[in-house]
């Protein structure tokens, strides 16, 4: 297939084929990060701007490494170093940056819809690296890549997402992505963490974590943001842990080979017990590794280069996979 989008804003608008295409492309990029010299010239001469207006370590480093491994030129802007501190509006800041001829802007913003608005305003492509509680498409893609790598498929899997669904962009993007490729998604948390009408997104809701974990192929725990305490969404972190925390004992309700995932950063001992986070079923660090490959794929596709090269590489990958499966 041909990639036709200028932007990657969310998984809600992607078709199943597009999601699979990004995952396939990411698979073909995985190997680069394992080379002695981790760099290819694919995006040489392209300029990518990382525009992060909200705190981030993992996502930012992941995008940065992905760009560098593709030889793109990279500019980093954060709210604390931009002239937005001087009162410049987001619109003016971004228009000035794009006036310097850039190819792709990666945006993280604390407010839903900000990347969508920028995408309409500017010519270069825009990648949503997380907008408020709305979407975080590359996170869901890397989660799906990790699951697909470990389980060799996505269709038919049962995925339990546990935690503050209401405030989670990771949950939303995963719900869109996973349901599109045919996985079944169960979300669990106290009713105060479950947003209204979420069943319409194609998920099942459980208020008992045990029911959500039962028979799960994948258990995804979400970070409980400490700042939610005191807003009466949960009485205390202590009580949350007691009722919803993923312990070794609870994990036994899932399939024996169920994967344990977390988008990070983890509150150890709250949403995940340390022995689960570090246990044999945990793929939390594999997620981080997959992240670089997914972001390389996304940048590569959105910079609009080498579409032929992509299909060549993909056919090589699928030949290799076929050979392996034989």
């Amino acid at each position: 297939m041909n990639w036709k989008r200028k932007d990657l804003l969310g998984l809600e608008e992607l078709k199943k084929e597009e999601i699979e295409f990004v995952l396939d492309t990411a698979d073909s990029f995985r190997e680069i990060s394992t080379r002695a010299i981790r760099k290819v010239p694919a995006l040489r001469g392209r300029t990518i701007v990382l525009f992060f207006l909200e705190a981030s370590t993992r996502t930012r480093v992941s995008f940065e490494l992905a760009a560098k491994r593709l030889s793109a030129d990279l500019v980093n802007i954060s709210s604390s170093t931009s002239s937005m501190l001087k009162g410049e509006t987001l619109k003016d800041t971004i228009r000035n940056i794009t006036a310097m001829e850039v190819d792709l802007v990666i945006v993280r913003h604390g407010m839903a819809g900000a990347p969508h608005w920028l995408a309409r305003e500017i010519e270069p492509g825009v990648v949503n690296a997380g907008d408020g509680c709305h979407e975080h498409p590359t996170q869901a893609l890397l989660d799906m890549l990790t699951i697909r790598e470990k389980k060799k498929k996505l269709e038919g899997l049962r995925v339990a997402i546990v935690g503050d669904i209401s405030h989670s962009r990771v949950a939303r993007s995963n719900i869109w992505g996973l349901t599109k490729v045919g996985a079944s998604v169960v979300v669990a948390g106290p009713p105060t963490f479950i947003p209204p009408c979420i069943e319409k997104m194609g998920v099942t809701v459980k208020y008992r974590v045990e029911e959500a974990l039962e028979g799960a192929d994948v258990v995804m725990a979400l970070r409980i943001q400490r700042e939610r305490q005191g807003k009466n969404l949960i009485p205390s972190l202590r009580e949350y842990r007691k009722i919803f925390g993923i312990s070794r004992e609870r994990l036994r309700l899932s399939k024996p080979d169920a994967l344990v995932m977390h988008p990070g950063p983890i509150n150890r001992g709250i949403e995940l017990d340390p022995d689960v986070a570090d246990g044999p079923q945990s793929v939390i660090l594999d997620q981080v590794t997959s992240g670089v490959a997914v972001r390389m794929a996304v940048m590569y596709l959105l910079c609009g280069v080498g579409k032929e090269a992509i299909s060549r590489q993909l056919s090589a990958v699928s030949k290799k996979q076929k050979a392996e499966s034989l």
Partner: protein, 433 residues
Amino acid sequence: MTNFLIKGGRVVDPANNLDGVKDILVEKGKICAVSDRIEKDGVRVISAEGKLVLPGLIDMHVHLREPGREDEETIETGTRAAARGGFTSVACMPNTDPPADNAGVVKFILSQAELTGCVRVYPVGSISKGLRGEELSDIGELFEAGVVGISDDGEPVSDSNLMRRALEYASMFHLTVISHCEEKALSSEGIINEGYVSTVLGLAGIPAAAEEVMVARDIILAEMTGASLHIAHVSTSGSVELIRRAKSKGINLSAETAPHYFTLTDEEVRSFDTNLRVNPPLRTVRDLEAIIEGLKDGTIDAIATDHAPHSVVEKEQEFALAPPGMIGLETAFSLVMSELVDKGVLSLEQAVAKMTVNPAKILGLDAGRLNEGADADITIVDPDKGYTVDAERFASKSKNSPFIGREVRGMVETVIVAGQPVLENGKFVLEKK
């Protein structure tokens, strides 16, 4: 002051149960005669054949932004927008800067209206000093200065006792208390309606209950005090139900809704167009249908615009940062025609009543009717003329309308205020009143 004769138009005057082809003679700023056929030499004739001749429309809920935010709207531009929309009277809310919580600001608004306005401006005074919801404004002084109602619009009166006292105190001046119903503890940091769309977009939701809880409270207080209560910008199905029940019990209250609540739903917000951010927020189809039902059965007495101008600078921001509000004066009548009258929801007479005599009654204005001897406030509309809403044509200083580009029907052609043509054939003919 010129005298003139409006000939051959379909005169719709709900206050007098009048709907038929009539001539209207205007002399010395007053309506002199309304009759099947009037012949008079030496007066200017305005032909209204094929047109609707209506009492000048009344918008009981606008924000003119002067004093304080003259970059967004002034009394001059706001009243021009009103005239373009067929309104000859507007009631402006007190949340200016400084707010209309004292006679000085009210007098300033009235004098600016006299100097620069082209339609009648009726100030609404604040319920509480500084709109802070703590102490009553000097309501007697506001009344003497000329306010037609009191409201803290933009902010609810969260303190139930303050609301009770406001209702009681205002009743001695026969002033209606206009309530912006929003339980802040429930709306909290909400941006859009709480429902499936807020779930998908990850924007904090404002539940319908935030409005309904306060509508219920105010109904109870209105019953207790017997004072005159008006519920502003009704947006939810539950509010319509509460108001309907209260009216059937004989409680003294009235209600308005705005065109965006019977034309748009929260589904539109998926575009993240900041012109769709408004408070109360756009609700669901179910709510929209209930609003329409409420308009139909008379639960909702008036259609007001809640015209809320905001500058491009403020609207061109992240959705959650853009201030809520949309302009409405210049699109309201066409939306009522296209969405309510054409679709058979309201008869023309019912629709006109909700924009003339009903708001006049609520505010105690001697307006909104075409009686002989009444002030000649008249709006003439071409009901068949369709057009596309065009931001370039707006007289308002702000352009924050979600209806730009929409095809509508019913073009305001001529507007007469106190016997003076302000707009003729869609063009301004009188710069100042």
